[in-house]
């Protein structure tokens, strides 16, 4: 077997095998062709050399030789598997909105307004995201925790302070009045405009 053929074969094998291949495994693979260990080693060295500056490189890891992508390409390649972000639930949005606009506020307050219990996972998510934190306790029986928004929250929404939060239409009546809806729409438009500027 010509060294050129052996090189192509080893190259192909290393790109196809599910696991890294050791020098020993390669020598055994080419037993029918009577390939020597020295030849295998020579080919492996040449291949390492050939792929030095390429997008994939031949590396010798604990379990043998394998081709792997260049370290520097990590970020660009990881985009292949980037998922689209999920969406937060309405319950989470309302909880966050209440904390933002009515802080400091207890879970009980939120539950009272929303008419449903606040799930612990929502509070956990908001805390993990760094958007809310406990700033104290209300001095009533049970001493419920008081929640407030954080500086990260302001940063995320590009706000200097809470006074920059958009105005909220008063829920004066049971059902939404037409002009109320119009107002909300206007706010959204305004919001978009500012977003685009930034």
């Amino acid at each position: 077997m010509l060294i050129q053929q052996l090189k192509q074969a080893i190259e192909g094998l290393l790109f196809v095998a599910e696991t890294p291949l050791t020098e020993q495994q390669l020598v055994e693979h080419f037993a029918p062709e009577n390939v020597s260990r020295k030849q295998v080693r020579q080919v492996l060295e040449e291949l390492q050399q050939d792929y030095q500056e390429r997008g994939v490189q031949l590396v010798n890891v604990a379990s043998g030789y394998r081709f792997q992508t260049r370290h520097e390409l990590g970020d660009i390649i990881s985009r292949l598997w980037q998922e689209k972000p999920a969406r937060y639930s309405q319950a989470l949005l309302e909880t966050l909105a209440l904390i933002a606009y009515r802080q400091p506020i207890t879970r009980g307050d939120i539950e009272e307004i929303r008419g449903v219990s606040v799930s612990s996972s929502i509070m956990k998510t908001l805390q993990e995201r760094g958007w809310i934190k406990v700033v104290g306790h209300r001095e009533v029986p049970g001493r419920p925790q008081l929640y407030a928004t954080t500086a990260e929250f302001l940063d995320y929404f590009s706000l200097r302070d809470l006074s920059e939060l958009p105005a909220i239409p008063e829920p004066a009546t049971k059902a939404k009045q037409p002009e109320q809806i119009a107002q909300i729409k206007l706010e959204i438009t305004a919001e978009r405009a500012t977003n685009e500027e930034s």
């Binding site: 790109f15 990590g74 990881s78 606009y101 802080q103 929404f157 006074s163 909220i168």
Partner: protein, 272 residues
């Protein structure tokens, strides 16, 4: 078709003998007839084989000798594997029909519209031969896992994929509040006082400061840089916090330093 060929089916080719002419160039032993059968992909394949064996042109399809040879094979098949031979029998019938039509003297009147009875079969044979070529081409094309394998490299990039956090736009937040409040309005009537907002933020900030320091000097809660409005907001926030019993404002003596403490710290020992 059925009845017409029944009588023209020449039983004489077989002579009812179990010993049949051994196919000359089939490498399969003559007793392994099932295997012979399976070497052909169908009646067209067999027909094509017979034509080729005699190095004949399909277009000149020599219907008499081919029909004879074909029948011999069909007889062998019939004895062994009847269901599989059904397709071969259809072809036999077709051959017999063509043969009988060719043997019939042609009426001179309908000469112009009388097509060669072999034409349709020749067309099918040609097409079948083309498809066999196509099948050979496919067989010779590089096939995955036989001729080539997909090349894959390992990568550490997968570990870099972070589940992206959901995004919220500010207007969604405003909308969410108005929805929550609309809900609240149905339950009872909560007061929304937007002008208090900055006061409430200041309340949060003061509480936050008190988390870090148990005691704060009252005057440290005011930042002169904020101007009069800022001072008023801070003052209102402190009053609100006192009202909500969240902080205590302590002055030991008249004109001495006023301190603000978290109610937490006062009760800390008793509650934990």
């Amino acid at each position: 078709m059925g009845v017409a060929q029944q009588q023209s089916l020449p039983l004489g080719f077989v002579r009812g003998e179990p010993v049949i002419e051994k196919p000359e160039d089939l490498y399969i032993p003559p007793d392994a007839l099932e295997l012979i059968l399976e070497t052909f992909a169908g009646p067209m394949d067999l027909l094509l084989y017979l034509i080729r064996r005699q190095k004949l042109d399909i277009v000149e399809l020599p219907i008499l000798p081919i029909t004879q040879q074909y029948m011999e094979y069909v007889e062998m098949m019939k004895d062994l594997k009847l269901e599989l031979a059904a397709d071969y029998l259809v072809m036999a019938a077709m051959l017999a029909e063509i043969k009988s039509r060719m043997l019939l003297p042609r009426a001179p009147t309908d000469e112009e519209d009388e097509e060669d009875p072999r034409a349709e079969l020749v067309r099918r044979l040609q097409e079948y031969e083309a498809i066999r070529q196509g099948a050979e081409h496919l067989e010779s094309l590089p096939q995955a896992e036989r001729d080539y394998f997909l090349a894959q490299a390992a990568t550490e990039a997968r570990e870099l994929v972070a589940a992206p956090l959901p995004e919220i736009a500010l207007h969604e937040l405003a909308l969410a509040l108005s929805q929550a409040l609309a809900q609240a309005a149905l339950l009872n009537s909560h007061q929304v006082q937007r002008e208090k907002l900055s006061t409430r933020e200041r309340m949060s900030r003061i509480l936050d400061l008190l988390q870090q320091n148990q005691r704060l000097r009252f005057r440290d809660l005011f930042d002169p840089r904020e101007g009069k409005a800022g001072v008023v907001v801070s003052f209102l926030a402190i009053l609100e916090l006192v009202k909500e019993a969240l902080i205590e404002v302590v002055q030991v003596d008249t004109f001495s330093e006023i301190h603000v403490t978290h109610r937490d710290s006062i009760y800390a020992d008793s509650t934990t």
